[in-house]
Symmetry: C2
Subunit: 158 residues, 2 copies
């Protein structure tokens, strides 16, 4: 693994060259923004380790590293909601990925059952209000998480 990753030796190299020199954090992870290739909607924000990144590139199917379960995670292996990668981008300092995907099945990417993990908005310019309530932007779940995941532990951690 990691055969494709180049050693980082200069800022010019990292920002301006075609060298593929991704930076993994102290936990060996790099954040990934996943958007719907058609609508552009942000579906989720996850993390990859080197293995997940290599597998994603080789298979064109999204692989992540699950921080809560601490395992390599082939997205959709349980739910069938596989993400087929249309384009994979890297940012200026090569410490973040942007992945454009088509989603199989119902098109959902969120374990709670919504299409996107981002189904609530934060009201703006309400700083003087003592309490700030989120607003749901998706009204209906696209699937029933209990039916799909059964008794599998919830990945959300407090």
């Amino acid at each position: 693994m990691q055969q494709h990753f180049v050693h980082r030796y200069s800022i010019y190299q990292v920002e301006e060259s075609t060298d593929f020199a991704p930076k993994f954090d102290a936990q060996g992870l790099i954040p990934v923004v996943t958007t719907d290739a058609t609508s552009g909607e942000v579906l989720m924000h996850g993390y990859m380790n080197a293995e997940a990144l290599e597998l994603t590139i080789a298979s064109r199917e999204a692989h992540y590293y699950s921080r809560s379960r601490r395992v390599l995670w082939h997205k959709g292996a349980t739910s069938g909601l596989v993400q087929m990668v249309r384009q994979l981008m890297i940012d200026d300092d090569q410490d973040c990925l942007w992945m454009k995907v088509d989603v199989a099945g119902t098109g959902a990417s969120c374990h709670v059952g919504y299409r996107s993990c981002f189904y609530r908005e934060i009201p703006l310019a309400d700083a003087i209000k003592p309490s700030l309530e989120l607003r749901f932007t998706e009204q209906e779940k696209t699937f029933d998480p209990h039916q799909v995941y059964g008794d599998a532990p919830n990945p959300t951690q407090l």
Copy 2:
């Protein structure tokens, strides 16, 4: 500060309620995906601390926490490329934000001079190739970083 943030006490609360209960990591940061409100393009991936999040909500202008400079960062204060926030979303487990913005001036958001920080793509399904070269997807910079930032230290770290 942090007057708007609610204590996290259950997974149901975090995922299914309107309680605004963001989770900051061990460094006190939460990742932010910033997209162009019109084109949907991912412009950058940054981090906020509690203060930056409060200021963003109150002012409708994007504030981040700069990990390289270790300061609160009002985006555009130096370059004039202020990001006006159109919508601010939070994800299922409330440990990530998605911010849709309009960018002032040239519309750029990347310190290297490109419109988006994501100006290079990684070739897919080329796993057997020994070297994997990035491809530039933006051909021209929208501004000259030296002119805008002068001798300010580059935020990219090796």
